[in-house]
Symmetry: C2
Subunit: 155 residues, 2 copies
């Protein structure tokens, strides 16, 4: 588990280098332990507000498998999924979600709309939050602190 979260952190760091909010995700075939996809945020690069790390790995794995569901797959992501990604996780029927930092501002599983807690959510994955939390959170804190400093300098 630690190993896959480390890969997600590596993807998040690569995203930061591209000027993206540093969130990384890894999708794993839980039966074989194979990594199906690893991605960081690409919202800025693709000019696509839906190009979150989780969406990118889910879409890549769906294409790769040619199957409508990813039932035996687990997601490792450095940040609590937002409502978009949580909904995608449910629709693609992922088995488990391991996430790093909690996201009180925009999270959608433990905060806000709590996507998996409604009867209308037809597939609820197992969710484990706070994995390598301080490490995952520090990436975001560092990124936004740098951004703030840059903005202040521009003033």
């Amino acid at each position: 588990m630690k190993h896959f979260m480390q890969q997600a952190i590596t993807a998040a760091k690569a995203a930061a280098k591209r000027g993206e909010v540093p969130v990384g995700a890894v999708l794993v075939d839980a039966l074989t332990g194979t990594v199906l996809a690893a991605e960081g945020n690409r919202v800025e690069e693709l000019r696509d507000p839906l190009a979150h790390a989780e969406m990118l790995v889910i879409q890549a794995a769906l294409k790769q498998r040619g199957d409508k569901y990813l039932e035996d797959c687990d997601l490792y992501v450095t940040l609590e999924p937002c409502p978009l990604c949580a909904s995608a996780i449910s629709l693609a029927r992922l088995r488990r979600v391991y996430f790093g930092a909690y996201d009180p501002k925009s999270g959608g599983t433990e905060h806000g709309p709590r996507i998996f807690e409604h009867d209308s959510c037809h597939h609820k994955p197992e969710v484990y939050g706070g994995i390598d939390e301080s490490h995952c959170g520090a990436l975001l804190t560092k990124f936004f602190s740098k951004k703030r400093h840059a903005t202040e300098k521009d003033k």
Copy 2:
């Protein structure tokens, strides 16, 4: 408005002919009245549980515009958006959503997680539900009734 919903219904009917749950969506540049994209569900065809009509028109319009947001755009869709699509609508900053039938089972704007009603939802579009409701709903009722009969015949 009536005209755009009619186009969404046409897209939903085309989806039904392809064996898809009949939901159709149209994305309109509200400033010029231009249709940017019209699509029906393609979940079965693409083997992609995220290929809802709303997602397809939003993604098509984002690509077409090369912009990260669709702030001056309105969405017409035959069914209340699910949590995935409602989240995409918010992230892409659509101006308005006009939807047809209400969806107590899987809807995400007036039911279940009510995506737009949380502080963590950073953009809330104007939402108008029940537009041409009986017509939009009848498409779904007919589709599922046919499907049930086909399944019963197979037994």
